[in-house]
Amino acid sequence: MTTETSNTTVEVTLNVNGVAHTREVEPRRLLSDFLRHDLRLTGTHVGCEHGVCGTCTVLVDGDPMRSCLMFAVSAQDARITTVEGLGTQDDMGPVQQAFVECHGLQCGFCTPGFVTTITAFIEENPDPTSEEAREAISGNLCRCTGYQNICKAVLRAAEIKREGANGGDGA
């Protein structure tokens, strides 16, 4: 059946970081705004709202996508992961830990978009070269770091992740 919805509101249920959230929103509500202002998960930032800067990148079924170029209503069947879902201050994920170790951030505004992007990248490429690391972050803008330490953080994150995986291997 065709579901028709107008600019009055619609009920949207999204699975974000493993939790289902239901809100009444307009169909034009961008996923980025839904996350930030309806769910108040403000870790996802907005830098350009036209898909170029990558600051708003979240994982949709594990793949990095621009949350400013999706409507919340279109994301209903997906599993969304934001930076908040990748670790906490007391229990940081490998990418977050690597950013801290490598000084991969300055103002921190673009960082969540890098963290989500790199998380997906090292999942697919657990042992990247420097060139691959640089390529992997080449769709995200950072105005502070010059990227060098972010490249370093990609390699370090992969290393931490591998160590973690090996650590679990008792044999």
Binding site: L30, A136, G139
Partner: protein, 286 residues
């Protein structure tokens, strides 16, 4: 930068999609990946009253590889096609071109068919459609019809698609076994729209350093209003693969009409397109 209000339609079947488009297509837009459309909506440069979101339509997200073609459904993401090893094995130019489409996060959402329907001559995939003599599978209230890629594009951002029609799938035709391909483009930044780009398909006879070119075709990005193919056969036929491709420059430059913009002049793009062609020819055969 927030989009204007619209009515959101979310059909679950192709029939529903067609019916919805029949009702609202004249004042609506199809939303597939949205990676070109949503920026325009956010900037309010377009304010369609209706969006027909086809992402939930069953059966549109498949890639089919046959002896003759690679068929790509309307909601297949660029990334899915790029990663598809069977498609790559039979038609490597798809991946060669897709590697140049924007950035991974855009490719994860944007659709190949959508980018063809969008008909931006700065897009890579419209030019691959014409290079491969692709067939467009169009569906609308009057039923299905097929359009050759060469007849599909009418102008910048314009195609033969009617407002109530949907591009259901694109069949990229496979080349013969002796055809080798390459795709090259030059952009100001990696992942940007190209200043110029080219995909080439070169028909080669023989192996190794003895190989001889029988013919070649090239399709362009960002240097024409609509995607065009230039047949280079007259100047490359009989050349060895170590050729310096004399004569290609003139043929290419005569066949394109690049526009100037803030990033590059028309003359520069013309020279760039010709040089990229020569390099792509070398890349394809070596």
């Amino acid at each position: 930068m927030k989009p204007a209000p619209f009515v959101h339609h979310s059909p679950h079947t192709l029939d529903e999609a067609v019916e919805t488009l029949r009702e609202v297509g004249h004042d609506g837009k199809v939303l597939a990946g949205g990676q070109s459309l949503i920026p325009v909506l956010n900037m309010r440069l377009a304010q369609p009253a209706h969006l027909v979101d086809i992402n939930r339509v069953a059966g549109l997200d498949t890639i089919t590889v046959t002896d003759h073609f690679v068929r790509v459904g309307a909601t297949v993401r660029h990334a899915a096609l790029q990663r598809h090893d069977d498609a790559y094995a039979v038609l490597p130019v798809l991946r060669q071109a897709l590697n140049n489409v924007a950035h991974p996060a855009i490719r994860n959402r944007g659709t190949t068919v959508g980018s063809i329907a969008h008909a931006d001559a700065a897009g890579e995939m419209p030019s691959i459609a014409v290079l491969t003599n692709a067939v467009m599978e169009v569906i609308g209230p009057k039923g299905r019809r097929e359009v050759a890629a060469g007849d599909f594009f009418e102008g910048p951002l314009q195609t033969v698609l009617e407002a109530d029609e949907l591009l259901e799938a694109v069949r990229f035709a496979r080349f013969g076994p002796s055809t080798r391909t390459a795709f090259l483009e030059s952009a100001r930044r990696h992942g940007d729209y190209a200043l110029a780009g080219v995909g080439v398909a070169v028909d080669v006879e023989g192996e190794g350093s003895d190989a001889v070119v029988r013919g070649a075709r090239a399709a362009y990005v960002s240097v024409t209003d609509i995607p065009v193919v230039i047949d280079l056969t007259e100047v490359v036929a009989g050349q060895r693969i170590s050729s310096s491709w004399d004569g290609v420059d003139e043929l290419v430059q005569a066949g394109i009409a690049p526009e100037a913009d803030i990033h590059a002049s028309s003359d520069y793009r013309r020279v760039l397109a010709a040089e990229l062609t020569r390099r792509a020819l070398t890349g394809a055969v070596s």
